[in-house]
Every structure is written in structure tokens, then in C-alpha cells.
Symmetry: C2
Amino acid sequence: MTNRLTVTYRIRASAATIAARAQSVAVEQSVEMPIEAITDETVLRDIVGQVQDIVDRGDGSFSVQIGLALVTIGTDAGQLFNMLFGNVSLQDDITLEDVAITPALTEIFTGPNIGMDALRDRVGAAGRAFTCSAIKPQGLPIAGLADLAARFAEGGLDFIKDDHGMANQTDGRFADRVPAIAAAIRATRSATSYVPSLSGDLDAMRAQMRIASDCGLEAVIIAPMLAGFSTMQTLVRENPRMAFFAHPTLGGAARIAPDLLIGKLFRLLGADAVIFPNHGGRFGYAPATCAQLAANATAPDPVLRRAIPVPAGGMVLARVGEMLDFYGREVMVLIGGNLLLARDRLAAASAEFTHAVAQHSYR
Amino acid sequence: MTNRLTVTYRIRASAATIAARAQSVAVEQSVEMPIEAITDETVLRDIVGQVQDIVDRGDGSFSVQIGLALVTIGTDAGQLFNMLFGNVSLQDDITLEDVAITPALTEIFTGPNIGMDALRDRVGAAGRAFTCSAIKPQGLPIAGLADLAARFAEGGLDFIKDDHGMANQTDGRFADRVPAIAAAIRATRSATSYVPSLSGDLDAMRAQMRIASDCGLEAVIIAPMLAGFSTMQTLVRENPRMAFFAHPTLGGAARIAPDLLIGKLFRLLGADAVIFPNHGGRFGYAPATCAQLAANATAPDPVLRRAIPVPAGGMVLARVGEMLDFYGREVMVLIGGNLLLARDRLAAASAEFTHAVAQHSYR
């Protein structure tokens, strides 16, 4: 089964419901549509996720192993996370627990450029643990940060990293800060390695990498949850002599209120339409959450254009009227799999959908 | 207070502890170090987060408003999320609830390029809700997807989006898929707008945007949690005539087991060192979780170089021996704020730290 990746989820369920729930996860994380609407034999055989094992953990939850087709992942790190946990991360009965790291996977994602053992040689940390500290606070003038770094270096630390809050703010630009700190450490003649923090988009991070290299630095720190997984993947690939530290910041995004994250912040970033799991569908948002999310997306603002709320996730034709009663005109109705169920009547079913929306009597 | 952004958190706490807990959040999301170690008056006045309000919600939790300095955010979307919820997302008593969208903020982050009202004009959806569907499954040959799209278009849908699982996989490359689907829709002479899904890094997404533009498309879909916030910000800025749909995939990343996310997946992506909240520090990971995370980061693998576990988050000099007993040599000890407390004895304290590690008797 080298063409599949075995992924383990922990799912809260009863013995009576777990088989169906496991199958629903296998579908959600692969084709995301009703199986019975799929006619292509290759898709059914090679693409749809497969439930491989279900084990009762005896605490009201089950360990479920699902085989995901490697071809759905391809070679992109963002898509890896998307297939592992993308949609089901929005369901509250499930945790992504494990992924089997197989040769087929490590042929695509090749891990650290340098790794612990060579880093041990680099900094002279044979036979012992490594040491590290961080310079902060952000907002301190660069000379102050450089002085802190020099003193850490005098103390013989292996690594000194930027605080992860130090980005490229006006009062501490990377291009000004990093050379000054690197020089301060170098002046101590210690073996200390400085690890500046990357921020911004790929262009910005590439420019920062060049500055770090020009300063003779051999390590940087990046926050994968902020940078984007593909961004990190590319930088790692482009800089084979550079070591990468990963910062866990924002590793707990599930606990951002969805009406804020999706309705307000994604709009703030420039989303013209924000898709979210409607109540009564495959996901767990309450009606009040959905209403607030839509209100946030559409509230007038002196600067921000209004965004379209797009409730989705298992919507069906029969719900169009109720959804329009709930959201009014300021919404986009998104129906996916339910329309596809019509198969050779797809155009007609789509027309029923468009007519239902066109002819609705808005309250 | 236009130089501060008011952020609302919901925190589970008792009446006796909430004031101190609120203050700890204000510090964590700004300077991330002991206040008493800060000598710079400007930092204390203008950078450190300020608790602005605490309201008892009567359910064992409190609404806490904290004013974060806008200067710590700068102009980067990734840094915005970092300051809003980065580190405290890793603490399990707190939810990010709201952010006040002020003129100072919308001067930096300007929201949708197009917005609902103009999109209504574009697709001719005056006085009614929008309609949308998705083409899938991934793995279906392109001709099959194009045929589905044409049938949706014949049904008069406003928008047809790619399934978010459709990335740039071998059997459905964006450059092949999108022109074919766009042409199929155009041939129906409907007003339907096709919304292809972006994936990969910034370079890849830019290339996809050019293809979409060349096809005459006016909207794309992006997953901010996958793409990285800064990536989305840049694309929005560079393509002022393009509408962006936001997909919520991976919005629930907190429920990825940390030993997997940090110990295994970040390593897989290329992290040479993975920082994580050690047990007994400011965050809630159990000792067993930390041990497993470290084991995952350091397990031998035929391809992946081993990564260094870096337990952190409120570590102190006095714990060095215990940490080394727990993790052994295969670790990097990261002590930040506690060393900075030494102030003018910083080099000496650092030396104590390095000596403690160098002289430890590993079990």
C-alpha cells in the first residue's frame, strides 16, 4: 500500500456509530462528496480514502486509521496539511493523532537540511545538550538587543534566537537588526550561533535569508503556522546549508472564535467571500455563531468592503428556503455534493437551485 | 488610544486569579518576558500589553480586553496573527474572541478588493442571494470536471469553485485544469464565474493567478490557514481586480496532537530544531506529551535527519538539571526571560547556564 498514507485520528463516538463516522472522515479527507455520486471507477478505487482499522480506546473514543491516496497530496506541504486535517479540523469530535512516515512520504518531504548531529559538530556541543536563549523585548533599540546578545555569547550559549515577536517592525527592521546583532556576537569571539526570526511573505523571507547569509549566519527561525507550510518548504529547499528552527506560535488556532477568524479576520485580509460550515450541516457551528459570522462579514465599515458569507458543508436543495430566511439576501448559498447526486440531471438540478434562490420571498 | 489595538480574550479563571492571569496574557502577547527585567522606559510605556477591562461572564470565565501596541504588529498579516493569538493559542484556558477593527487597523489591512456589492453587479445577482457550487472529486479526469462545470453553468449558478482538495496534483495540474474548465463554462454562454483554487507557495500562486487572469477569470479561492496570512495579503494586494474566496480548511489546528504537529510534521517539513512548551512551564503540555514529542523529533529514520527538541516556555536555571535528566543529551535547553532577570549579571548568568549543561551527569 505504498500509494497510500496511513493517518490516525482519535474520534469520540459510540460503538454503534463509529463505523459510519470513520467512513465519513475517509470521504471528507479525500473526495468530499457523496460516494454514490461518483461514477469514475479509478476515483473509487484509487482516490477515495479507506478505513483501515478501528480500535476502541475504552474511554468513549476510538483510534481510526485511514489510508489517504498519496496522489491527492502531490508534493506540496500545504496540500499535505489540507489532506491530513483540513476540513475535519472543523469538526469537534476529532483529533489528528498520527501519520505514518513512510519512504514514499520522505521521498517527497525530506526533513531537516542539517539536523541535530551536524549541528552538534557546528557549535561544538559533543556529548551534551545544546543551549539557547532569546533576545527581547521587541521595541528595545537595536543597540540594546545587540548588547544582550553579546552578553549571552560571552556566557557561551550555543544559540541565541530572536524573540518570535521580533518581525520587521519599523523600530527594528531585520536589515538593521540582524547585522548589528551578528556583529556584536562575532566580536565576542564565541562559537555562539545567532538565529534570527523570519517574517512576512516568501519574497520578504528570501530577502531576510540573504541578509542572514551575508552575515555568515547558519540558522534561522520560522513559524510554520504563520508562514504557511509551502513557504517553509520552499525556503528549506532553497537554502540547503541553513538550519531552520520552528516556532509553535498559533498552533492553537482552533480556539479562535470562528465568527472572528472567518467572518472578520479573513475579510480584513481581503476575502471577498468567506466560506464557513453552516449549522445543521456536517460541522458543529451553532446558529448563533453562523449569524454572528455573517454579521461580521457584512457589517458596514468606513474602509472595508463587505464580504459575502458563504454557509456550506453538506447543504441540500431542500434547505435553500430556510437558509435564505435565516441569512436573507446577503449570502451566497453553496451546495456541492447534493447537486452532484443528480448525476445526469445535474443541469436541471442546478437550475432548480438557481430558481429557488431567484424566486425566494425574502422576509 | 489609536496606537493600541483592543483584543478580547475569554479566559477560564477564578475571581481570585483573573487579574494576574489577564496581566500574564498582556505580557505574553507583547514582550514575552518578565516585566521586572525591562529597564527601557519606552518599552514599558509603549510596547507592553495593557489590561483594559475584565468582565465576569458568570460561567467560570471572564472577558478580558487587552490593548496591544500597533507598532508591535507593523504591516504584516502573519505578525498580526502572531500578536493576536500566537503564544497564548498554546494555553488551554483561553480563546481569542474579538478584535476591534479600528481606522488605524484598516489603514494597514484594507479588506476585499471587490466586495459583495460589486460582485453582485458582476454576476447579475441584484436583489437576491448568490449561488455557488463546487466541482469534484479530485482525481476525476479534467474533461469530467469541465463537463460538471458546464452543467452547473447551464443551470445558471453564479459561481463554481474548485473543491479545496484540488491543488496542483499530477493528474490535474492547474495549468491544464483551469483553462479547460473556464472554456467549458464560457461555451455555455452563461454569466457563471469560475473560481479556481490556489495552492503551493507564493511563486506557485502567482503563476496560477496569471493563468486565471489569462482565462479571463475574476475570482480565486485561497485557504489562509494553509497559504500563510502574509501570502494571502500579498496576492490580494497584487491583484486588485481579482476577488478572493477564503476556505476555512485547517481552521482547527489546535486539535492536532502537539507531539505530531511539532515533533513529527515540522521536522518532516525541514525543521532542524523544534521549539515546544515544556511541562511545568507556562503552557499545558503533560510530561508524557513532551517526551513523545522529543522522541518523534529524534527517532532515527532512513531519510529524515534528526531534529533537536527544544523544550521552552518559562524555563529557569534551577530546572536545568531536572530537564537534562528528563530529556538527556538529545535536547536544546532554551531559557529566555529567566536569564534576562539577571540584568547586569547577564553574562555571568549565561555562563552558569552553559556550565550547568556542560557539567551535567547524564543518566
